[in-house]
Symmetry: C2
Subunit: 321 residues, 2 copies
């Protein structure tokens, strides 16, 4: 059983190579540039961990891990275009550096390359892995579309937001784990339990993310606390506040959102606290985390094999930054 840190290092070594031909450089340099921006490589490592939960890591699990990471980077390149984001990990996004047309095409070819890695796996697993990969890719696109739709809406219900987060974030974590499990020869019940573990963990992670943006320690958080509030982002916190606030608080909140006056963050945070949104969010996170752990518990392998996944899950949702 290898820890997240160790597998993350090993994957980085595996992945650190050119993934594209030299020409046309105008298409492939942008891809290599973006992949070099790094990242925590959580998804590919989840794939490897899902594999090692059931058996020694197979050679083609590294290929599926690479496919998952390339897919994730494809979504980032295209999302950055849609969000008009100038920076990613402190560096220029692809469309900022190379233009929108090239970024569009670089994303496309990144997705195709992901399928190339998928096609390296053993034939007996190809159908089921490809099915899961396609389903997940479709869902992630749907999540992004809901996210864009919600931005234009006045209000979003909690269950709608939850479903969007699930599609946009959770299913890829869950599928990464499950693809590893499929390659590890896991039975269907174990595969699905692991998928549910990943899905719930992803939701807990997003609740945490929304929480930290509002209530994180500015010293540890690394980015501006209250960024979501300033941007009027519909988060777990804002949606719950709107649903649970008194009529008076709701009106105040609406007024704060329509304007951008000084003290907006503090005033919104005050309403959040008055409505006990912070406590609610921590409870919600723990609810999903507990459910995730219950699924992991149910997987029929020796408990010690689950240790690295437990540690990773704890780490992901207990970080303060």
């Amino acid at each position: 059983m290898q820890s997240f840190e160790l597998l993350s290092q090993k994957f980085a070594l595996h992945f650190e190579k050119p993934h594209f031909p030299a020409e046309p450089a105008s298409l492939y340099l942008p891809n290599e540039y973006f992949l070099k921006l790094g990242g925590k490589r959580v998804r590919p490592v989840l794939c490897l961990m899902g594999n090692e939960l059931f058996d020694d890591i197979r050679e083609d699990a590294w290929d599926v891990a690479a496919a998952v990471e390339l897919f994730h980077n494809f979504t980032l390149i295209h999302d950055d275009i849609m969000d008009k984001a100038p920076l990613r990990r402190g560096m220029e996004t692809v469309h900022t550096k190379y233009g929108e047309n090239t970024a569009l095409l670089a994303g496309d070819v990144m997705l195709v390359k992901a399928y190339d890695y998928i096609n390296r796996i053993d034939g007996s697993y190809l159908h089921s892995i490809l099915q899961l990969f396609n389903q997940t890719a479709r869902q992630v696109c749907e999540g992004q579309q809901w996210d864009m739709d919600f931005e234009k809406r006045e209000m979003v219900k909690l269950d709608e937001y939850l479903r969007m987060i699930e599609l946009k974030t959770s299913v890829l974590l869950a599928a990464s784990l499950k693809m590893g499990a499929i390659l590890g020869g896991a039975g269907e019940r174990n595969q699905n339990l692991l998928y549910e573990f990943g899905r719930k963990l992803g939701i807990a992670f997003q609740v945490q993310d929304d929480y930290l943006d509002a209530f994180g320690d500015p010293q540890k958080f690394g980015k501006q606390v209250g960024g979501d509030i300033l941007a009027n982002k519909k988060t777990f916190l804002l949606i719950h506040a709107m649903e649970s606030a008194s009529a008076h608080q709701q009106k105040e909140l609406s007024n704060l959102l329509t304007g951008n006056e000084a003290g907006k963050i503090e005033n919104v945070l005050k309403i959040f606290r008055d409505c006990k949104v912070d406590e609610w969010a921590l409870q919600l996170k723990n609810k999903y985390l507990d459910e995730a752990f219950a699924h992991l518990e149910d997987i029929a392998v020796l408990s010690k094999r689950k240790q690295p996944l437990k540690e990773l899950a704890q780490f992901l949702v207990q970080r303060e930054y």
Copy 2:
């Protein structure tokens, strides 16, 4: 053996159904809208014809045909964004009607759906079909990138243009045929001959396309003759003219290209004729057509099985519209 017309009708019936779920409608309606714009469906029918060249059409050949058509439509949606094209087949393009972000995402999910159809085929063929599909998808992206690069360049060499056309247009025709052949149980030699037939046919088709834009009969051509000249598009004709013209003619041509004065089309056409570009283009088309037919001839199946492909090829490159 079924004719192109018959298979085209059958494919249309097969393909005329919703390919996407109902929700989110903001994502999937644009896809269904675009697919309803129609088109000749040349590529999927090539897949079916490639299959029927060797055996009765298999059930999963229809799935690969659908995949090829969805892939083609994905490239059209994204190309239209890059080209800022307002219309396609006389109707609004996806980004014009629904916005660029949705068009980007609609294209992405169209590509994923193509892979979904690929995954329906028999497991024994999945590796090789997926390999060819991925390779072709990568090449088409490369072709589009070269095309955009060439637009920014002063001049392009004939062999560069040829390679770009091959990537952007020919390889998908060739691969459609070959995927059908693979499913038909064709041997590798026959598969490759059919691929080469498609590749050369695609080039001949593009030469014809460039020729008609300049020398087509305005009554039959359907669009404005000389459109490529007005847009300074680097075509087979312009590139050959620049390479074969006298120094004096070259200068005149350059002057005509930099300006947009009245009579530009006529004056460029006069230089084309003086350089015998029209004759050269017809010869070039016939050269590729002859080579294509020679490959078809070499395929080891009964001659009568090849009849529909021969007729289609003749039709594609002898049209005057």
